[in-house]
């Protein structure tokens, strides 16, 4: 049966990863009809939602798991996957379990998580530091200290792409790394105003101020263009999720040799478990509905998980797969995961609305040097106060 699958994975590494999913699904005797929409979730989501609410749903669609699809589920537009989940025993195999919690609404499971994406990585270009004549830093503070040398060599120390979510994400990473896990959860999980206004967070804003200074001159929009600056040595480093690794791979770079990755910015080695999941709109066609079940189970199939996540540069959602082909960076991630040093990511903790407000704040903050960290913090507190 043909199933149309929509997603916004269109960059090089992403596309290669999707191909794995499609291959696995096609192998079951069905057909994966690809419905890629470029331009990140922002462009693609309204289209997906319009189609689902407009009564012309696709077979399956990517969302970031978390709260993006909550209302669609509540409106009864989504297929209940509990049957597949129980049959395949997802409760046991999906790890960390918080992933499945994000898919669960009123005790029913509505999505199939496919990977874990962690944002907390600092990617560094070994070549850039060599040019600048400094050692490759081992943590955020060393990186900040090395910035002047990089600048002198005409290298942008920290590449931050122009799209708002990148600045916002970078801040969240700084928050988790510098503020620590507890503060992070207090602020985003409990929406604790007092914590948000506190000195811990002020420190984070200080660090963000450094990041802002270091990012001057990036002049690119897309995250992968920013990554490319790191790959080509035009920038010293980039705070970006593990998906950036895919770009390094495609460019034929080797972890450790050509580039260095510092999880948790080398400060706090915690990984947030954001990620992607597939949702399955409710279809009338019996055949298709069956195919949906097949797709759901295929997605979590160990072989698929390995193939997909290796290409995508993300971590698999089940702990029982063999990832010895993984590279250095991924192994670092797996280790942290194994240690249980995980938190839920902002996608799961905050509504899209609050996320958007946060993005507005940080994209303004990063672009506008005249905005003091104190002002920014005040506004941040307001956002947390009204967040849900």
């Amino acid at each position: 049966t043909d199933l149309e699958v929509t997603h916004w994975w269109t960059s090089g590494g992403e596309a290669a990863a999707v191909a794995e999913l499609a291959k696995a699904f096609d192998a079951t005797g069905n057909k994966w009809v690809d419905g890629a929409i470029a331009g990140s979730g922002g462009t693609a989501r309204p289209i997906m939602i319009s189609r689902i609410t407009g009564g012309d749903p696709m077979g399956a669609t990517q969302f970031n798991h978390g709260r993006q699809a909550e209302e669609l589920v509540q409106a009864g537009l989504m297929r209940d996957l509990t049957d597949v989940a129980t049959a395949e025993n997802w409760k046991e195999i999906v790890r960390p379990s918080s992933l499945l919690d994000s898919c669960t609404i009123d005790g029913k499971i509505y999505c199939a998580p496919v990977n874990i994406h962690s944002w907390q990585w600092l990617w560094l270009s070994n070549a850039a530091f060599k040019t600048a004549g400094v050692d490759v830093p081992k943590n955020w503070d060393e990186f900040v200290a090395a910035a002047p040398a990089l600048e002198k060599a005409g290298i942008v120390p920290l590449a931050v792409g122009g799209q708002p979510w990148q600045a916002s994400g970078a801040f969240d990473v700084l928050m988790l790394a510098i503020g620590g896990k507890d503060t992070f959860l207090k602020v985003f999980g409990d929406k604790d105003e007092a914590a948000a206004a506190g000195p811990e967070i002020a420190k984070v804003f200080k660090a963000a101020d450094d990041a802002r200074r270091m990012s001057k001159g990036t002049n690119v929009q897309d995250w992968n263009q920013a990554t490319n600056m790191v790959i080509t040595g035009k920038a010293g480093g980039q705070i970006m999720g593990d998906w950036a690794q895919g770009e390094f791979q495609i460019a034929g770079k080797k972890a450790g040799e050509d580039y260095t990755c510092l999880p948790g910015l080398g400060v706090t080695e915690v990984i947030a478990t954001g990620g992607d999941a597939f949702y399955f709109p409710l279809l009338k066609d019996e055949e298709k509905s069956k195919a949906q079940a097949v797709l759901a189970s295929t997605l979590l199939n160990p072989a698929t998980q390995v193939a997909f996540n290796l290409k995508k540069g993300s971590l698999p959602v089940r702990g029982d797969v063999d990832l010895n082909t993984a590279n250095d960076c991924m192994k670092k991630g797996l280790d942290i995961l194994a240690k249980g040093e995980v938190v839920q990511w902002t996608d799961q903790l905050l509504s899209a609305d609050s996320q958007k407000q946060k993005e507005d704040l940080f994209s303004e903050f990063f672009a506008n040097p005249s905005m003091t960290p104190e002002d920014a913090q005040k506004r941040f507190v307001d956002i947390i106060a009204s967040a849900d």
Partner: protein, 308 residues
């Protein structure tokens, strides 16, 4: 009689008395310098981007990385064009713009025809058959021209869903018809109002009804404004991205969706040459329409827009 003759006789000597014949004109008068100078400078501003697009699309990536964007290609390559047309990937589909081209054609032709048909009938009814309340609806329509498209997406999704045509080509054609209606109706209304009213009266006395007058009398005289409407609609619909992607399913996605995918889904370095080739390829149809019928466009604009 004699007076004329003597004057003619005298004229021989007087030709020397001063300027005679055509007033001499310098080619490089200050007026000419200003006029052609301004036009030339403006023309550079307008041509430059097209030039950059074409030049870049003919370069290889290494050359782009090294040289500047205005220098002509050292080595002309059509690789980017081939890639943009037939190879560029979005997601798993690596067949470039070609898959979208026919969709665009399939969307543009019926949308253009139907939206113009509807708007021209509206304009005709408004100009010649004024009935109570028509002006109110028309005013609403004109105000509607100012509403951002995005705001209307939700209500329209609901309407199309209720009609059961969401996701179909029909639905998309209707959407284009709706959003083309304000400005096209305005154009047609002004044009038909500018035709002599007596013609309409004569046809009524001849016994022609609403449709007979429209088809037999008005349509044949409306060529200039049809050209304008056609150009506006072809351009608008062909270039549309939002409606094409929101109101249809992937098998109908227009070329602009592929363009967006090519331009926005970057594989490492942005392949500017492919982007530019894709851009030109996507713009080719409306551009050709313009180049072919630009003269008619100005004429039609003069007929339909000037009396506001």
């Amino acid at each position: 009689m004699s007076k004329t003759v003597s004057a003619a006789a005298r004229s021989g000597s007087q030709t020397l008395a001063g300027p005679s014949g055509r007033k001499p004109r310098r080619m490089l008068s200050s007026r000419n310098i200003i006029v052609y100078g301004t036009l030339f400078v403006a023309a550079v501003y307008y041509v430059l981007p097209l030039y950059v697009m074409v030049v870049t699309s003919l370069k290889g990536m290494p050359e782009i990385r090294l040289g500047n964007i205005f220098s002509p290609p050292v080595e002309i390559t059509f690789e980017p064009w081939v890639k943009a047309w037939a190879q560029a990937c979005t997601g798993l589909n690596c067949d470039g713009l070609s898959r979208g081209f026919w969709n665009s054609v399939r969307i543009t032709i019926p949308s253009t025809i139907i939206s113009i048909a509807v708007a021209s009938v509206n304009g005709y009814a408004l100009a010649n058959w004024r009935f109570k309340g028509a002006d109110v609806f028309f005013t609403i329509l004109i105000v509607g021209a100012f509403i951002p498209y995005q705001v209307m997406i939700y209500p329209i999704v609901i309407v199309l869903r209720e009609l059961g045509i969401y996701g179909t080509l029909t639905g998309l054609v209707i959407v284009h018809t709706i959003f083309g209606m304000p400005i096209l109706t305005l154009l047609f209304r002004n044009y038909f109002a500018g035709l002599p009213e007596e013609l309409f009266k004569a046809a009524r006395i001849d016994g022609a009804g609403f449709w007979a007058i429209y088809f037999k009398i008005m349509l044949p005289m409306a060529l200039p404004i049809f050209v304008v409407a056609m150009i506006l609609q072809i351009t608008g619909i062909w270039n549309d991205f939002l409606f094409g992607v929101v109101f249809t399913r992937p098998e109908y996605y227009p070329m602009t969706v592929q363009l967006n995918n090519i331009v926005n889904s970057v594989q490492g370095v942005k392949e500017y040459n492919v982007n530019m080739a894709a851009t030109i390829l996507t713009g080719a149809v409306p551009l050709i329409v313009y180049f072919v019928s630009g003269r008619l466009f100005v004429r039609g604009i003069a007929a339909g827009a000037v009396k506001g």
